[in-house]
Amino acid sequence: MRSTIEKLLKSTVARYVAIVALPLLALLYSPILNFTILALGERVLLENVPVDPWDFLRGDYVMLDYKISQIPRALLYSASGGKEDYDYDRPAEVYVELAKNPSDVASVRAVSFTRPTDGLYLKGRLGYSRGESYDCDYGLGVFYIPEGTGHTFENPVQEGRVMADVRVLMGHAVIKNLVIAD
């Protein structure tokens, strides 16, 4: 086994294929997944609550916190069959079923610990308790913007007038754009 690997690695082409294969897979995985969601996903608008920004390497960004990130305790209580302490099972993955109004703005309809078979839902990770609700992280907390343009979003974000235009497919979501409400 070891000598076979050593023989294989003596070939320059084989060595470079081994070097480049994993990085290429990692670099292509995210674009393929996200382009698919953007192309085939369902449109949803997510309302925001105020917050703010800067990423060391990747540029300026708007930090987003959604209304649907607060999951009422009562919904979790019924989803878990009356179990009280959700922290005990952390990190708990939850599936948040969404309902859309005529303007495509989404709200939480139900929560489940198993993947729903159909309908509009988002996969999230349950966080800490905030009184009568629990934090839920969907990995949609940042939106990158051109350097020095943060002021465009500063007031709308603080006033909670920004909505994320999101595409959702099979529980995964990608932010397509930010929409500023009048």
């Binding site: 470079y16 990085p23 290429l24 995210s30 390497l57 540029g59 949609l140 350097e147």
Partner: protein, 416 residues
């Protein structure tokens, strides 16, 4: 035609040849002739150059990243992946042409490109990821390059990222607001798949230990002490990496599992003690490579102590007065590094690098919020390059003085 050698080799030759003259093997005239055949090459400290160029690179990269909204997403991805493939393709071409040095350099650069590419692709899709997650992916996908290519720069880059990654996990653990138990928190921080990265790393490293242990066992007539020395010091860079990795993590695990404090301080101090112990071993075993490791650990923990959060004790109380402890730590570390540089000890280039990081740490602290990011990085890079040139100049002048004092002025020098 003179042969170009490093200052260390030239000094060794001068010492050895003096011994030969004393033993009557060669005459003083012959010694002079031999020494004249070798010219000292003084290089800029590579690591400082790399850091300076890297900061300029990050500045340019972040400028592009922040201002390329006009380019369609698919084209951004193509440019990012294209840059990486062009770099690895260049390495392949160089290797087929027999230029292994250039190929190694390009593969080393591919590590940075890969890290930047992963970060930029996640930016294109507004993915909110953790820094430890990014490093875990990088460690996984860059592992074949690390294992296949025997290049000291790649090895060093990988070692540093492993140490940063493991320490980042500990810091995230300490940073979490409500600890339920180490393993629960470990799962929470890592997610379901990151432990596999650690597992792959550990299996790969264990394999190296086994191979090295067999190598040690197969040397006939060797004493126990020299076996230990060979095992810890050896010639294999991966073994050095391993001993470093294991010693550091033994200390940190002991510290984490036994500490009831919600503080970084015991952890950071344990790394400092580990560095000091390795330094003691370096002195006791006369092993310069261990001295280098010691410098790495003392430098890393010393730099950590320059941050106020490293000094917080349990219940959020500060063990010192605001910036007093960090400033004192900076002064102590700076003095230690300057002492090493002035004494011209082995690893002088790395001491300069750590000194630059120390300066960069305060540069970040003071100017990061006042300037635009691209200007900030480019200015920082230029300052580091200036320090590198100043070090080279000082090294040349002091080296000339020493050579002329001890050798009567023999030994030409070449700038590279």
């Amino acid at each position: 035609m003179e042969r170009r050698v490093s200052e260390v080799k030239r000094r060794f030759l001068a010492d050895e040849s003096r011994e030969w003259v004393e033993r009557g093997l060669i005459s003083e005239f012959q010694r002079g002739g031999i020494l004249e055949c070798y010219a000292v090459v003084r290089r800029l400290p590579t690591v400082v150059l790399t850091l300076g160029l890297l900061m300029i690179g990050i500045g340019i990269l972040s400028f592009i990243a922040a201002n390329w909204q006009v380019i369609p997403d698919w084209l951004k991805i193509a440019i990012i992946i294209g840059c990486y493939l062009a770099d690895v393709g260049g390495a392949y071409y160089s290797e087929t042409k027999g230029r292994r040095g250039v190929s190694g350099l390009l593969l080393f650069l591919s590590g940075f490109l890969l890290l930047g590419a992963l970060a930029l692709i996640s930016q294109v899709f507004h993915v909110e990821g953790s820094a430890s997650g990014l490093l875990a992916v990088w460690l996984l996908v860059y592992a074949p390059t690390f294992l296949i290519v025997r290049n000291i720069s790649i090895y060093m880059l990988y070692e540093i990222v492993v140490l940063v990654y493991v320490n980042m996990l500990y810091f995230e653990y300490f940073d979490s607001a409500n600890r339920y138990g180490f393993w629960d928190e470990f799962r929470l921080i890592l997610g379901p798949w990151q432990p596999f990265v650690l597992l792959i790393l550990l299996v790969g490293l264990a394999w190296q230990v086994w191979a090295d242990a067999r190598l040690v066992a197969n040397v006939p007539g060797e004493t126990g002490e020299s076996k230990i020395k060979r095992f810890f010091v050896g010639g294999s860079t991966r073994r050095i990496f391993l001993s470093n990795f294991l010693i550091l993590n033994w200390f940190t695990w002991m510290c984490v599992l036994n500490s009831t404090q919600t503080s970084f301080l015991p952890y950071v101090l344990s790394v400092l003690v580990a560095g000091a112990l390795i330094g003691f071993m370096a002195w006791k075993l006369d092993a310069p490579d261990l001295g280098w490791q010691s410098l790495l650990l003392v430098g890393a923990s010393g730099l950590t102590l320059t941050f106020p959060w490293a000094w917080y004790w349990h219940d959020g109380h500060h063990s010192g007065d605001g910036y007093l402890a960090p400033v004192l730590s900076s002064v102590a570390l700076g003095a230690y590094l300057v002492y090493r540089i002035m004494r011209r000890q082995r690893g002088g280039g790395f001491s300069v690098f750590l000194f630059c990081v120390l300066l960069a740490r305060w540069y970040f602290n003071m100017f990061e919020t006042f300037t635009s990011k691209s200007l900030f990085f480019v200015t920082g890079g230029v300052i580091l390059l200036l320090i590198a040139f100043a070090y080279k100049r000082w090294n040349k002048i002091s080296g000339e003085k020493e050579v002329s004092a001890s050798e009567g002025g023999d030994g030409d020098e070449i700038d590279d």
